[in-house]
């Protein structure tokens, strides 16, 4: 048995993991039935909402753990909360208890996920480094790749760079290239490749169907944010949309027969259609109320902390009878 500060740490970790897993369950149900409701909000609000949905289980779990463990002590943010919220034996932790076993199982699983995502990050970085070594920087700062495949993308995690192939560059007029540059530079400025990776990591514990939905929504919002950056400079939205269509058409021809279609065809069709529709129609500007979000986070945290205490009592009394 561990006693003292280390035990407090493990007890907190145990509450955090239990709360986060419960919250993932609740958030998954919300996403399954209500994610489409986000469409009425501005892209900035959608981007924030997607981050909140992905991170809320961990943030709420952390707050709930702090509330439960510090209850009744001088460190508690809620004085006199011990009457309705407390955590027995906060200074004792036994790895052979149900707390210990559930925490070890969850921690092992989380470590495996983090390791696999890190491995993927390193592998992708190495591939991108090789690409960079065989490219040449043009006057605009874009990395030109000598290839017959028409494509352009932003890649890299620490200092992202924009790439374009010679085949695509040859097909674009100066104005079209300007559209593409503004788009890719916005991705680089926002460090979107790293954020995409981090978002995947944050949603990795959600059920696969839900994490897929979240990641695709985030990818679309990131593209729309970059499209918006072009629209802030170039007023003719139909020209931006036409360029987007042209580049997609060229990329589609270049990669015909090379890629596995099954898992992404719907996304690709949907993605371009939504981006073009968003550019050409009256843009949604509805914003989230910050107070509502804060109120929701505080109430859910309190509920989670109380439920953790209740759940703890329930399990302990079941196991000891």
């Amino acid at each position: 048995m561990i006693v003292g500060n280390l035990a407090i740490f493990f007890n907190m970790l145990s509450i955090l993991v239990l709360t986060a897993l419960s919250m993932i369950f609740v958030v998954s149900i919300i996403i399954k039935f209500r994610l489409n409701a986000l469409a009425q909000y501005s892209i900035l609000s959608r981007r924030r909402a997607l981050w909140i949905l992905a991170l809320s289980p961990w943030i709420i779990g952390l707050f709930a753990a702090i509330l439960a463990v510090t209850s009744g002590t001088q460190f508690s943010p809620l004085p006199n909360s011990y009457n309705f919220l407390h955590w027995h034996h906060a200074q004792e932790f036994n790895f052979k208890s149900w707390h210990g076993l559930s925490m070890i199982t969850a921690a092992t699983y989380i470590c495996l996920i983090v390791a696999s995502k890190l491995y993927r990050l390193v592998q992708n970085s190495q591939q991108i480094n090789s690409l960079r070594a065989f490219s040449e920087v043009d006057d605009s700062g874009f990395y030109q790749l000598e290839s017959d495949a028409a494509t352009a993308f932003t890649a890299g995690y620490v200092n992202p760079k924009c790439y374009i192939t010679s085949a695509l560059r040859l097909e674009l007029t100066t104005d079209e290239f300007q559209v593409l540059q503004l788009h890719e530079r916005e991705h680089a400025r926002r460090s979107d490749p790293f954020k995409k990776w981090f978002y995947q990591l944050s949603t990795a514990l959600f059920p696969r169907y839900i994490s897929q939905k979240l990641n695709l929504s985030m990818a679309l919002v990131m593209e729309q944010c970059a499209d918006q950056a072009i629209a802030n400079v170039i007023q003719d939205k139909s020209f931006i949309a036409m360029t987007l269509l042209k580049v997609n058409r060229l990329a589609s021809r270049s990669f015909k027969g090379v890629l596995n279609n099954e898992s992404f065809c719907y996304y690709a069709v949907n993605n371009i259609e939504q981006r073009i529709n968003y550019l050409l129609t009256e843009q949604q500007s509805k914003l989230f109320s910050l107070y509502s979000v804060l109120l929701a986070v505080v109430s859910v945290t309190l509920m989670c902390a109380l439920s953790a205490d209740f759940f703890h009592h329930f399990i302990e009394s079941t196991l000891s009878h």
Partner: protein, 129 residues
Amino acid sequence: MNLGELEKLVLKYFWQTDVADAKQVYAYFETSRGGTLNTIQSTLDRLFKKGLLKRDKEGHAFQYRSAKPRKAFIGDLIKDVTQDFTVDDEDSILAAFASISTELNEQQFNKLEKLIKDYRAVTPAVKVG
């Protein structure tokens, strides 16, 4: 595919030179980069095993040449990177102006093109640039 710095340099050398043996490659890099003949030989061997160089034995020495032209090699490298992020879209970690898909057919492109043209017909023209 993971390539070391020297491997990349040697590959670039073979895109400019048709055929060379280890001694010729070593002579080329000796002044600019230093190193030993052994290092060059093992680099050539690794590139051969990775399928990036071809070799034929002539006398006691191997004669090496590039297995793929520069353009084809870079094309494959792009496919590696892009395939990695499109086979399972959820794992996409690049940010791209164009979604790489083969499933958008001409009919779907035409439908989108018509949508844009209809928008242009009812919206006053704006100068680009």
